[in-house]
């Protein structure tokens, strides 16, 4: 029993309740009744992982099947990891407290590139061979990864038996059903993987050989054993009817997002050219207002949460957002539930909407203009104008808000110094606006600008673009600091080296896998945590493997270059992405999908129109 070894250690570490499970909503089953066990791993700490919606959905979904048991696993924080290693405690799942290596599936959700080394570390702590090829012939455990990052899974390819492309609600159960059947037949790992390759949405990296050109770019991917040359992502056709949990696991301790949340729509109509989510989650699909309201009430009642969040990439783009708010406003008010709407857009942020949100308490407003000048906003297709930003801020200030947070990016394609200075100017104009208002709230205004270094990502029109160099990132950051004149404006940004690594991992191929392995061996993990990130170790790993960072991060890629993700079909065509890239360079915008179809190709593959005739026009 692992539990007897775990408990004496818990009081020696921070936030011990993260390591013992037993929360309300966690699902216990009798091992003897279970045919397939799934260890759902989030490659980051409990506090981050438990805030993630996708995990909650798949956890409930798998557990809705009587004979399958899904349990949760998180990366132990470094203090507890040390004690686990010292005391021979392997990575275990929070429900049964059984070792992860005894499960049938070890699944990882890859939400951001900087968690990749945690996948390696967790496999290591579990006692599972890191490389898929070393896992022998026995069927279990099958290591599978999914999530947005696996739209280019190649850096992870050699560590995973299966990569799940697209939405997991259907394919996960299909895969487990196949496994259940083949396990009973006594199949080997390889036999199962060859069968799994026939399920749409499952990519088996070991069934493909990569050929490289002399210049280091990809030549082609050669499939074996009947694996398909192109693997298509999975999508849920009827999003309104798709499975949604009626309860969440409610953590004992406070975590990042500790609340009931309902996904109101999936996909995005906007087509901002930097945004990977905006393309890989297409097509745009909504839940009916009544479905959202029912799910929200059900979750609040079953969890007891006092906060409800309506989630999506752009919640105010829901064609019936007023309907949703009307259905929920009275309920949340009566029940003392705080409703939050992340991801609002400045261009359709109305006074009416603000009134509704204000009824439930919020402290500040956050907007993302992304770029400092209109020209650059046109380049990235962020169809938001300066007037819209200002009028939104005016509504917010007059409504009593004094804090505004603005998100920007630095290093966008075609960016000049003028665009950087434009960031500071925009913030300054917001400060000036505040003081020009006779009805402004008491006290002083605070405008914080958070500037991220742009990371060009696969499946976006900027996938062809290089990232700016480290020196250039630093120069532009300094330029921004020098351009800020007011003490009311606070600027913050990430370590540029984190963005560089993010770019290499995002656009990397299988050769990056070896670098990751070396970096992990030298101690890299929790790379997204400032206190753990050590770029020097990464640089040493790149050097050891003879891999050039600039080849991946700072190289412009031709439209006809074969990319490591070209054999994966995320429905958005490469021709469309190239077309959008050219338009960007001419400062030309593309209208959002409801106004005019931009021909991205998704509708053809998803089968049918993106928008029903009944959906209202904006």
């Amino acid at each position: 029993m692992l539990r007897e070894k775990i408990e004496p250690l818990l009081l020696k570490v921070q936030k011990p309740s993260r390591y013992i499970g037993g929360e309300h909503g966690s699902i216990m089953k009798n091992k003897e009744d279970i045919d397939v066990r799934f260890a759902f791993c989030f490659p980051d700490s409990y506090d981050i992982g438990m805030s993630h919606l996708g995990m909650k959905i798949l956890y409930s979904l798998i557990n809705s099947r009587e004979n399958y048991w899904c349990e949760r696993v998180f990366a132990p924080w470094t203090d507890f990891e040390e004690l686990m290693v010292e005391n021979d405690i392997p990575l275990y799942a929070l429900e049964s407290l059984d070792p992860v290596k005894d499960f049938d599936f070890i699944g990882f959700t890859m939400q951001y590139e900087l968690s990749y080394t945690n996948l390696l570390n967790m496999l290591h702590l579990a006692g599972v061979p890191l490389y898929a090829k070393d896992r022998g012939e026995s069927l279990a455990p099958i290591v599978i990864a999914g999530g947005p990052c696996v739209c280019n899974p190649e850096p992870l390819a050699e560590f995973c038996d299966i990569i799940s492309l697209g939405e997991g609600e259907e394919v996960t159960l299909e895969m487990m059903d196949l496994y259940d059947k083949m396990k009973k037949q006594g199949a080997t790992r390889q036999e199962f993987l060859r069968e799994a390759a026939k399920i749409e949405g499952l990519y088996i990296p070991s069934l493909y050989t990569v050929e490289y050109n002399e210049d280091g770019t990809i030549g082609r991917y050669v499939p074996h054993d009947g694996a398909p040359p192109v693997i298509r992502k999975r999508i849920i056709k009827d999003f309104d009817k798709v499975f949604y949990p009626d309860c969440f696991v409610v953590p004992f301790s406070d975590i990042v997002h500790n609340r009931a949340s309902v996904e109101v729509l999936r996909g995005c109509i906007r087509g901002c050219r930097f945004c990977q989510a905006g393309f890989i989650y297409r097509p745009f699909r909504e839940k009916k207002a009544s479905t959202v309201a029912d799910q929200a009430k059900c979750l609040c009642e079953n969890t007891g949460y006092e906060e409800l969040s309506l989630l999506s990439l752009s919640t105010s783009d829901h064609s019936d957002i007023d309907g949703i708010l009307n259905e929920l406003m009275e309920y949340t008010e009566n029940e003392h539930i705080n409703m939050t709407l992340p991801s609002l857009r400045v261009d359709n942020f109305s006074e009416e909407l603000l009134e509704k949100i204000k009824k439930v308490r919020t402290s500040g407003l956050t907007f993302a203009p992304e770029a400092g000048t209109q020209r650059l906003r046109d380049v990235i297709n962020k169809n938001v104008s300066e007037e819209e930003i200002m009028s939104t801020c005016r509504i917010a200030f007059e409504g009593g808000y004094t804090k505004v947070k603005l998100y920007f990016m630095m290093g966008l394609p075609t960016e000049t110094d003028e665009d950087i200075i434009g960031i500071a100017d925009t913030a300054q104009r917001i400060v000036d606006l505040f003081y020009s208002l006779p009805d402004r709230p008491k006290g002083s205004v605070s405008v914080s600008i958070s500037v991220a270094t742009f990371v060009p990502k696969p499946f976006t029109p900027f996938e062809f673009e290089p990232q700016i160099s480290r020196e250039e990132i630093k120069r532009r950051q300094q330029l921004l600091v020098d351009s800020i004149k007011s003490k009311k404006i606070k600027a913050s940004w990430h370590d540029p080296e984190i963005s560089i690594l993010e770019e290499v991992l995002a656009k990397g191929d299988r050769r990056i896998g070896r670098v990751m392995y070396e970096a992990w061996k030298s101690g890299c993990k929790f790379d997204s945590w400032g206190e753990c990130f050590d770029f020097k170790k990464w640089e040493a790993a790149f050097e050891k493997c003879g891999v050039d960072i600039a080849f991946y991060a700072n190289r412009e890629r031709a439209y006809d270059e074969v990319f490591p993700w070209d054999h994966l079909d995320y429905f958005v065509s490469k021709e469309f992405l190239a077309r959008e890239n050219k338009k960007a360079k001419q400062n030309l915008t593309t209208p959002h999908c409801r106004l005019k179809c931009s021909g991205c190709g998704v509708n053809i593959k998803a089968g049918g129109e993106c928008f029903e005739k009944t959906s209202c026009e904006i």
Binding site: L10, G22, D254, E306
Partner: protein, 219 residues
């Protein structure tokens, strides 16, 4: 509005719920149980739930106290208990709900059962007898001003029983707790470890009773 007091146990995996998190935990439990609890009426209304006696993280308890007010006068104490128990996770169990009899300030002592795991057997009843036979047992205790001061805790530790077990030893004791001077059994344990020159691999502590000055159960 009706004032109620619950006596509940906090055991097993639930022992890792910190005192700070316990408020939110109970708030959500009341919501799930659909019991309308009284909100404070100030500028920033919040649910009124009160725990007079904090329990150290990791300790189990058979007798935690929680005070709260319900809005529905017709709801019986038994019904409140049943509804809460129906939605509480394993480890937390309400054993009694009643209208408060005493004031919080009447809490004077807590009783604890302690199981020490001592693989090297250094922590045994013989050693403990020796330890308790000292003239004084001086420990460093944090004062409210955040400074440390020397305190002799021997007079405060009322040892009821101790004996060896197959893993180490068992101690049953009471110590002052509540709004007056409060002493955590861990103070005595640390002093014992230092005296014996060996630390317990694991100390399982359970609060078994909350008593008044007269030694009655707090109600």
């Amino acid at each position: 509005m009706k004032k109620l007091r619950a006596r509940f146990e906090k055991k097993d995996r639930a022992r890792y719920i910190s005192h700070l998190d316990l408020y939110r935990f109970m708030q959500r439990t009341f919501r799930r149980a659909r019991i309308s609890v009284w909100y404070t009426q100030g500028f920033n209304p919040h649910l009124y739930i009160m725990f007079p006696l904090p329990l150290s993280l990791g300790y189990e308890s058979e007798c935690e106290i929680m005070d709260f007010n319900i809005n529905d006068d017709d709801l019986s104490a038994e019904e409140v208990m049943e509804r809460l128990n129906a939605v509480l996770p394993q480890g937390v169990r309400i054993n009694e709900v009643y209208e408060p009899v005493m004031k919080h300030t009447e809490i004077a002592y807590s009783c604890y059962d302690i199981e020490l795991t001592s693989p090297d057997r250094v922590l045994c009843s013989e050693k403990f007898a020796e330890f308790m036979n000292q003239e004084t047992i001086v420990i460093q205790k944090k004062t409210k001003q955040k400074t440390m001061k020397d305190v002799d805790i021997k007079p405060f530790a009322d040892i009821k029983e101790y004996h060896d077990t197959d893993k180490g030893m068992f101690i049953s004791m009471s110590m002052p707790s509540g709004s007056g001077a409060s002493y955590n059994p861990s103070l005595l344990l640390s002093a014992f470890y230092k005296f014996a020159g060996s630390e317990a691999e694991y100390a399982a502590v359970t609060r078994t009773a909350v008593l008044t000055e007269k030694g009655e159960d707090f109600r």
